[in-house]
């Protein structure tokens, strides 16, 4: 393999691929980057077996080939090279990187040992506008579980919604649940509903961040693939049955509360200082949030709100409440309650796109 390319481009290729290298891998080969040179392109791939990244750049390929080298070493040298053209050549044992005057050799690993990474083929199932994909991930991922005892809940459900011809992203840890409807272009008919590790989705959001490019999505070889510009992220799927979330959604017929999101965020943050559980009182024209930690201190704060329906007092875990309120996308937030013993609903004001369901906690 003999390839040359501009240092800037090469560096960004390597740094992007490095995002897929995990520090706690079990197989030595996974600390490496797979480099392929073929038909005018240099491709760098990495994987931690859960998620893989494959990214490419145009380069002048004098001789095609492939190799695997330590990702960290290649990343470090690429970062520190001076601007200009860089030549990369693989030999018997070493990958040689040449820049003006410098020559750096990196010991090669066996490319045959590198796990196979699916290559994107054909068209995308559907496309999502980058910004709305990222915000959907941010809005839902906090509700995902990190408890490995229930693997299904460590992932997010991505489900096609044939009525609106969009997809719905759902995450839950069984204490709260977040869902978001996302508009897509293209057809969702071919999409198979699946559970994707939330960790991977967060990484996709990070990789897509900054660029406003569309995220193209498809299912291939039982893996979910996301294409962002020249980069493809592939994720293994979680097997199992996602909880039937639709039946959990509160009707919210008894009481409805509307108030400014920012105000509520500030009040909840202050209340959290004095306790984990908030007593959330709903009265005719205001809310009263109280917290206490016995023998340490307590807090009490009132805030004006438009309330219709019955007055009630309900307990919430402060952190879960804050996550839900923060995820709301509109300036005003709408909350709906049925009963102090039943889950409550937090949602965008006058919109059904985002919903957050939170279980109440028992108050003493």
């Amino acid at each position: 393999m003999i390839v040359s390319c501009d240092r800037e481009k090469l560096n960004s290729l390597v740094q992007t691929a490095l995002r897929g290298v995990s520090s706690r891998v079990t197989m030595p080969i996974l600390s490496g980057l797979l480099i392929n040179a073929e038909s005018g392109e240099l491709v760098a791939s990495s994987t931690d077996l859960e998620m893989s990244i494959r990214t490419r750049v145009e380069a002048s390929v004098k001789e095609s080939g492939s190799t695997v080298v330590s990702g960290k070493l290649l990343g470090d040298i690429m970062k520190s090279l001076p601007p200009g053209e860089v030549t990369v050549e693989s030999g018997e044992k070493y990958l040689v990187v040449r820049s003006t005057g410098g020559e750096y050799r990196i010991k090669e690993l066996m490319p045959e040992d590198f796990p196979q990474i699916p290559v994107w083929s054909g068209d995308a199932s559907f496309k999502v506008q980058g910004g709305s994909f990222i915000s959907a991930i941010h809005q839902t991922s906090r509700a995902s579980s990190s408890d490995e005892k229930r693997p299904v809940l460590t992932g997010s459900l991505i489900e096609k919604n044939l009525e609106s011809s969009g997809v719905r992203m759902v995450a839950t840890d069984s204490y709260r649940l977040a869902w978001k409807d996302v508009e897509v272009s293209g057809s969702v008919a071919e999409w198979e509903d699946c559970i994707i590790p939330t960790k991977t989705l967060n990484e996709v959001a990070r990789l897509a961040g900054g660029s406003d490019a569309d995220v193209e999505t498809k299912m291939q070889d039982k893996q979910a693939m996301f294409r962002i510009g020249t980069m493809v992220v592939t994720s293994r799927l979680i097997e199992g049955q996602f909880p039937n979330y639709k039946q959990l959604i509160p009707k919210g017929e008894k009481t409805t509360v509307v108030l400014a999101k920012e105000d509520l965020v500030a009040v909840v943050r202050r209340a959290m200082i004095f306790g984990h559980n908030i007593r959330f009182g709903v009265y005719s024209d205001h809310l009263r949030l109280t917290t206490e930690t016995p023998e340490v201190g307590d807090s009490k704060e009132e805030i004006a709100a438009e309330v219709s329906g019955e007055e009630m007092e309900i307990g919430f875990n402060a952190g879960y409440l804050l996550d839900g309120v923060l995820a709301v996308d509109t300036e005003k937030i709408e909350m709906r309650f049925d009963d102090p013993q039943k889950p409550a609903l937090i949602k965008d004001f006058e919109s059904e796109e985002f919903k957050y369901i939170i279980m109440p906690v028992r108050l003493r």
Binding site: I29, V69, S70, L109, E112
Partner: protein
Amino acid sequence: MLWDNVVGHSAVCLSLKNSVEQDRVHHAYLFTGPSGVGKFIVARTLAASMLCPEGGCGECNVCRRVMQEKHPDVRVIRPAGKNIPVETVREVRMDAFMKPSEGARKVYIFKGAERMWEEGASTLLKVLEEPPGDVVFILVTANPAGVLPTIRSRCQEVSFANVPLEQLKTYIMERKGISEERADLVVRLTGGVLGRALDWCDEQWRLARRDNVIKAARALKRAELNDVLQMASELYREVRAPVEELSATYQQRKRDLEDGSLDAGVVRRLSKDLDEALSRERVKEETRGVEEIMTTLSWWYRDILVMKEGGDPGLLVNRDLTGEIEEEAEVIPTRRLLDSIDLLAGGILAAERNVPVQLNLESTLLGLQEALYA
């Protein structure tokens, strides 16, 4: 085909091979049988035959990586220290719920499957109760009684017997290019355990050690107390030698890691793994050494007994020492031979219970002297 490379176990292999071909693979197997008999090789072969498009051709990249433990869909879990830690079992559980990376199936091979504490075992049990569709567990153990009964009942048990002596003899003659006479001796001395037989071929000193051990046993008749203690300490050195060699091998492997192809962090973690493996292997090798000495002596007295009672000379294990066996059979009474064999069984038990090696050897030799010649 990889299946053809397995020595012995033809019935077991055939039925496993058929179940792969007819797509009737069980979701969990328990491979049981003496250690070194070839359970783990069959486990890897089964894994390769499930993932390889040709059913385990032995030539392709899939087969190669499975056999070298480099395939992402085949994970081998070994005890770390004395046991398989619960964290490892939890990781496996999480991983089992992910779809495979490359193939249609994922395989988890647990070596030393009996070595799990209750928490790890019950975590594994949970997965075995409701296994994800494309996962196959192969639990490998030499001690099936140590496996939780609830786990056993959820596995298909496959038992491995020792390889028939004649078949093993032919195999090692071909594979190691040694004479029939020598192959015969090795096979008898190792009782048809494939792994052990191969070790005996590669490691000449094991045969030399047998000679030394028997020489020492014969010298007991005229030995003073101090001589016996001297013999015990020489035998102790014999046990230590391969352990030291093992340390040297591991040091070399650690140096090989630092050839620059891996990151410092990865190297650090792998060397730590090697250190742990070494301390595990050292204990194992030391125990094995003592056991081998005791076993050698047991066979020796058993041979004398066979000769004395007029048994078929074809039954002798140490057939190359027939002359010496005859001499001893003349002088040692039957009762005393039986007592000696009992005593050696106690010595093996003591080794398994971690009695210090030198102490164990001293008391066994003194006990033998007492039993045979007092």
